[in-house]
C-alpha cells in the first residue's frame, strides 16, 4: 500500500485488508506512538463531516504527526472558484498525505491521478468511503473473532446507503449471508442482488425488523431519512418501523452486536446503549485505530 492512494475498498486485496486490520489491532494495544513525527497530513473537507475529520485528526495526533486543512469549502480558496486539481496540486506541496471528503462522485479518484502525494478518500458523494468500510470490518472481526461465513442483517436505507453497499461488497468476499430489512421504497438495489447471485451467496429481504434479527451475528443499522421518500406519507407510515429497541434483542444470539456508522437520530432507541450488544460507540473508536493503520501503511512507516 506504500505510496498508493486509497479511493475505493475495491483497490485493496484481501491480504491488504488483513494487513490493515492486523496493524489496527497493534495500534489498539499501543495507541500512542511517535511514528508519524515530522509528517504532515492535510484534511481537505470540501463538505463538512465533523465525525470523520476528527477521527482522522485524532489518529494523526496520537501518532505525533501534524494536521493542516479546512473543514468546509466556504472557508477555503474553493469558494473563490479554484478547481479541484489546483487545490490538490497546491496542498500536495504542504503535505505528505491528503485526506479528502468531497460531494462530487469520483473526485477522489481524479485527485489521486493528479496528486503527487497519496490521497485517502474520506467520502466522495454517494460513491465510496473506504475507511468506514475498513473500520466496519475491523469491528466485525473484533466482535466475532472472524470474518468468514457470518450472518449480516442490514437495516434501514438500503437504497442510498453508501456504507451498506461497500460493506456488502467487502463481506461478500468472506462468504457472508445477508438479510435486508427496509421499507419497500428503500430496498437494496437490484445490482447488488445480481452480484450476490453470481457469487452464490444467500440473502433474504424483509420489511419487518423485530422478526428477522434472531439469527444475526451483526445487525447493521442505518438512518431512514425523510428526504429519501418521494411521498412524505410513505415516510410517516414507516418512520417508526425501523427503530431498534431493547425488547427486540431478546432471543438474539449472544455474540450478536449492533453496529451503526453514526450519527444516529432515533433509529436505535437510547435504552439499547447500555446493552452489551450495543457496539456503535466502540465502532467509532475503532475508526481511529483503523485510520492510524491505513495512513501508516501508505506513508510506509510500518
Amino acid at each position: 500500500m506504500r505510496n498508493r492512494s486509497l479511493v475505493s475498498i475495491n483497490d485493496l486485496t484481501k491480504d491488504e485488508i488483513f494487513r490493515v486490520l492486523d496493524l489496527a489491532e497493534e495500534f489498539e494495544r499501543n495507541p500512542i506512538q511517535r511514528i508519524m513525527e515530522g509528517k504532515v497530513v492535510a484534511t481537505l473537507f470540501f463538505e463538512p463531516s465533523t465525525r470523520t475529520r476528527l477521527s482522522f485528526e485524532s489518529a494523526v495526533n496520537k501518532l505525533c504527526g501534524r494536521v493542516i486543512g479546512f473543514s468546509e469549502a466556504s472557508t477555503s480558496s474553493v469558494s473563490k472558484g479554484e478547481s479541484l486539481k489546483d487545490t490538490i496540486l497546491t496542498v500536495a506541496n504542504y503535505s505528505d498525505l491528503i485526506v479528502m471528503r468531497h460531494p462530487v462522485e469520483g473526485s477522489a479518484r481524479y485527485a489521486s491521478e493528479v496528486s503527487p502525494v497519496p490521497i485517502v478518500n474520506a467520502g466522495d458523494g454517494a460513491n465510496q468511503h473506504p475507511t468506514q468500510t475498513l473500520l466496519d470490518l475491523y469491528s466485525i472481526r473484533k466482535t466475532q473473532g472472524k470474518l468468514d461465513n457470518l450472518k449480516i442483517v442490514m437495516v434501514g436505507d438500503l437504497k442510498y446507503g453508501r456504507t451498506v453497499h461497500s460493506l456488502l461488497m467487502a463481506m461478500s468476499q468472506f462468504g457472508a449471508s445477508f438479510t435486508f430489512i427496509s421499507p419497500v421504497e428503500l430496498r437494496i438495489p437490484q445490482e447488488y442482488k445480481i452480484y450476490l447471485n453470481e457469487l452464490n451467496l444467500s440473502y433474504e429481504e424483509h420489511t419487518d425488523l423485530a422478526e428477522n434479527i434472531k439469527n444475526a451475528d451483526i445487525v447493521y443499522m442505518t438512518r431512514v431519512q425523510r428526504e429519501r421518500f418521494s411521498d412524505p406519507m410513505e415516510y410517516e407510515k414507516v418512520k417508526n418501523a425501523y427503530i431498534l429497541r431493547n425488547n427486540m434483542l431478546e432471543g438474539t444470539k449472544p455474540n450478536m452486536r449492533v453496529l451503526h456508522p453514526l450519527p444516529r437520530v432515533n433509529e436505535i432507541n437510547t435504552e439499547v446503549d447500555n446493552s452489551p450488544k450495543a457496539y456503535y460507540f466502540t465502532q467509532a473508536l475503532n475508526g481511529v485505530y483503523t485510520r492510524m493503520a491505513i495512513m501508516t501503511l501508505i506513508l510506509g512507516l510500518k
Binding site: 479541484l84 462530487v104 462522485e105 469520483g106 473526485s107 479518484r109 481524479y110 466522495d124 460513491n127 445490482e191
Partner: protein
C-alpha cells in the same frame, strides 16, 4: 453483385469505406474519427436503405487507413460497422469493429454528480458488457447503459 453497390464501394482508388453506420450516428462517427479535421477527400451518403439498420450511412475516405484501436472507438455508436480497405479500386480487406475494454472520451457519464460532469475531466469507462455496451465509470463507478448514452 449489384452494379450500383459495386460502384459506390469502388468510387475511391485508395482508402477506406465505412459501411453499415446507423444513419442517426453518422456525424458522431465523423467526429469520433476526427474526419472533420483531416484534409482527405471524403464523401458520404446517408438515409440509405438497409435491411439490418433501417436507414444506414456510408463514408468513403480517400487515402486513409485506420489503426485497429482507432476504429474500435466507433464501436459504441456503430457496433455493426464494416470497413472495406480499398487499394487500386479493389476491396483488399474487410474489417469489423470490436468493442474495446476501455473507452476514453466519446461518451458522457450518466451521473450528473460525477466529477467528469462537474470539472474539466475526460470521462473514462471500463466496458462491463460488450454485447449491450454497458460502461462503468472509472471515476464515480456508476453504470452508463446504451439507453442513457450521450456523446461528448
Amino acid at each position: 453483385m449489384n452494379d450500383k453497390k459495386h460502384l459506390s464501394v469502388s468510387a475511391i482508388q485508395n482508402g477506406t469505406v465505412i459501411d453499415h453506420i446507423p444513419a442517426q450516428n453518422l456525424f458522431k462517427v465523423i467526429s469520433i474519427l476526427g474526419l472533420d479535421k483531416i484534409p482527405n477527400q471524403i464523401t458520404f451518403g446517408t438515409n440509405l436503405e438497409s435491411k439490418r439498420l433501417g436507414k444506414k450511412a456510408i463514408i468513403k475516405i480517400a487515402d486513409k487507413y485506420f489503426e485497429r484501436d482507432e476504429i474500435n472507438r466507433i464501436a459504441i455508436v456503430a457496433p455493426l460497422a464494416k470497413l472495406n480497405i480499398i487499394r487500386d479500386y479493389e476491396v483488399v480487406e474487410k474489417m469489423l469493429v470490436e468493442v474495446p475494454d476501455e473507452i476514453k472520451g466519446i461518451v458522457k457519464c450518466v451521473n450528473p454528480k460525477c466529477i467528469t460532469n462537474v470539472e474539466n475531466v475526460t470521462p473514462k469507462f471500463r466496458v462491463v458488457d460488450k454485447k449491450s455496451v454497458s460502461l462503468k465509470c472509472h471515476y464515480c463507478e456508476k453504470i452508463t447503459d446504451q439507453e442513457h448514452m450521450n456523446y461528448l
